[in-house]
Symmetry: C2
Amino acid sequence: MDIPQPYLLFLGDVTDPLAAKTARGIHAWRPQQCVGQLRIATTGVTLGLDDLTIEQACEKGAKTLVLGTANAGGFLPEHWLETIRQAIRSGMNVASGLHERLNDNVELTELAKTHQVKLFDVRHTQEKLKVGNGKPRAGKRVLTVGTDCAVGKMYTSLALEAAMLELNMNAQFRATGQTGILVAGTGISIDAVVSDFISGAAELISPENSDDHWDIIEGQGSLFHPSYAGVSLGLLHGSQPDYLVMCHEMGRPHTRHLPHHPLVSLADCIKENLRVAKVTNAHTELAGIAVNTSQYSDEQAHRYLSEISQEFGVPATDPVRYGIAEIAQFLKVHGG
Amino acid sequence: MDIPQPYLLFLGDVTDPLAAKTARGIHAWRPQQCVGQLRIATTGVTLGLDDLTIEQACEKGAKTLVLGTANAGGFLPEHWLETIRQAIRSGMNVASGLHERLNDNVELTELAKTHQVKLFDVRHTQEKLKVGNGKPRAGKRVLTVGTDCAVGKMYTSLALEAAMLELNMNAQFRATGQTGILVAGTGISIDAVVSDFISGAAELISPENSDDHWDIIEGQGSLFHPSYAGVSLGLLHGSQPDYLVMCHEMGRPHTRHLPHHPLVSLADCIKENLRVAKVTNAHTELAGIAVNTSQYSDEQAHRYLSEISQEFGVPATDPVRYGIAEIAQFLKVHGG
């Protein structure tokens, strides 16, 4: 899946800022790849980009219209179709993060064929996959892992890529979820692959590379999440990471959406991730801890980060509040 | 997926006895559910059952024609189609363990609709699945786990079901792979589900039950297999087993098909399975070890089994050579 950039970000007529999370993420991490936004209701959510028509976006070089908002149920609303048709007729590809597939819509697939453009359903997988083989491959890899879902693994991965590039390291973000795929323009939605192929898909996401190349792989779920641990484990095995960055939310009492399920301790979670990583990489180490401290004061956050940094012997930071330069520096020094 | 029994076992014209493994498994474990066999070449593999025509099988009450042989590539040979059509026209359902789906064949699906019978593709999943929730549910569960693929998890599960029934325990085999599904007439091919739903599928396979009911769940893969560990972990979390039976092959040097990957030690494998099982069941215990000792003499096998039985404090047996009554007895005594 290689989604041609730059993008025109389609915001439809959504009014809930949270529903535009994907579009906002793309804009935040790849502003140079966003020529503008297209809204069908000017009272809706805005990213502060220029409002463009399909025609204007084409003139500015947009290659793909991105449906970057979520709908209740993830379906494709009838009244968005005309904009999508227009984009296709103007020679733009269309990429969607919705559950409902563009590729299941016969009218759109035929129109796309006629105009020789592609439809990308980033929540689904279109790749031919193989089962994983666990064979070591050249290049260095960092995987973000977590104590839970929604603890900032994508944010941390993208922030780390940026910080490593700052240090002139050869770093590349590797996407495993829908927003990440749209940011990177490539990747595999790892939780959408047939379970036989989880680690095989992970091997494909971060292929062999030169010795000085770093893949920063976006993690998913948690080994301790009763719903998603299988995905997390297959991703860990297939990634063969040299380094892990553990993501965590300070003070979160229980696993997300599962109030009956207390959150694993940071220590147990780190130990277990390092232990199971050994199945495909005997030398996996922890490189840092990225913590969402947003519920706490600056002082409380600093005290906690300094405590866990001492306990685990690696930098600990809140990447949103304090950046992630320390972890990038750690990788530069230790990962040689 | 509820496949009506009894079956007529279709052997096609395969000549390699290994290719008839599925049919042989069904016959071995559910002889009373097999009215006969149908071959299109009498020089081919036989199970020693009566050779029946579709008509004769119908008279004997056969409800489903089972394609119980494997083909190179798993496709449906052209010259098998006439037998399948005949079966459908006679009101029989058809179940297939092939990769190629009966349900992708428009002619067969229409014929099946006309004659109001069902086509079952047991390697694929037709269920509506949910993500797992990890909530405890009533009933007792045993899961077979392993140091590798192909170490006898299905055999052990079925043998244990039989041994527990002998002891008048309320035991029920739960299938997670194609042969198991055909034996049980129900189940989900766990490695074919979308990876987001592994543990959810496992929860569906062994639903809430009465307190004295035992599910004997067929395990898949191994936590230490670089290709399939994600499936194994999701199955373990979703199964919430009260007891594990560890399956192992004595003397196997490396992970199957991966000569670069040494086999995990029995001790590490048991420890890790018990550790990760705690995510959804705080009280998981080991109930026994089932070992394939076929490469060793009787004396060597007995010495090894007695050693590991002492080391881990549970019965250890080769279920093929020595039966599995001891493990059933252990469950009866300890599992109340």
